[in-house]
């Protein structure tokens, strides 16, 4: 069921930049998002469409969409510290996704979410960032967070998945 329309939805449609993003059903897709609070929802839509195009198992689609959304949300909130009402931040979040097939036919997807903000180590689990990390870890086979003063790169790898029938 699609979410109810709102002014944010309209804003989101206008801001999507499909011309820059390449083939939405290829084995690789790169999406550059403006680092506003609408970025996680655009990322969710793009990741979901790409995974469905590759006939990824639906239950895993939900989990991977959630994990990528958390990574993008983390960049907006903690990397760039974008205030909730900011409309036109200049910074960007890059989301790259890649599908690989092992010799036995099992498939895996990898998402790389990167920003050029300032990573700070979460010090408590009971914060949204602690929850975000917990969710990303729960939804993936492997989570790598590479934080530096120049930015943060999060790599999320799916569980190996049998080929579609």
């Amino acid at each position: 069921m699609p979410p109810p329309p709102s002014d944010q939805e309209e804003h989101r449609v206008r801001r999507a930049r499909p011309a820059d993003d390449g083939d939405p059903v290829g084995p690789e897709l790169a999406v550059e998002l403006n680092a506003g609070w609408v970025a996680p929802s655009i990322a969710r839509e793009r990741v979901e469409g790409w995974l469905r195009a590759h006939r990824w198992p639906p239950a895993q689609v939900d989990e991977l969409v959630l994990a990528v959304s958390e990574a993008v949300s983390n960049s907006v909130e903690h990397g760039y510290r974008v205030p909730p009402d900011a409309l036109e931040p200049q910074e960007t979040v890059d989301v790259r996704m890649r599908l690989t097939v092992a010799p036995d036919g099992f498939r895996q997807v990898e998402f790389v979410v990167s920003d050029r903000g300032h990573w700070r180590e979460p010090h408590r689990a009971a914060t949204s960032r602690g929850h975000g990390m917990l969710i990303m870890r729960s939804c993936t086979d492997e989570l790598v967070v590479d934080g530096s003063p120049a930015g943060t790169t999060v790599v999320l790898r799916s569980r190996p998945t049998p080929p579609p029938r």
Binding site: M1, P4, W37, A59, D62, R129, G132
Partner: protein
Amino acid sequence: MNVRSVDRDETVLLVVEGAVDGLTAPRLRTAVTEAFDRLAGRALVLDLSRVTFLGSPGLRTLFESASDAVHLHGHRPLRVVVNHSRPVTRPIEMVGLDSVLDLYHDVDGALRGDEPAP
């Protein structure tokens, strides 16, 4: 995300629809705070069965609301209807929110204050 508020004699029901993420969670927080302010002894029920996405900002809002319900307003645990929708139940379980909320699978049970789902 839309939040619809239904006032009844013994409860205030907030029906939430759509995605609860960093963009929309502040509006949910405001709706919950306003509902608390006019409870006047009634119970608050949050119906999340039409929520399509729940991320960490939404989870934080639920944690804060649950804490306010108990500490500021002296109520029993917040009643939350989650249906069986995985996009809602999975994140709640991942962060352990199920231990601080009274979860229900149907609105009527939550409004009556039945025994919560295990």
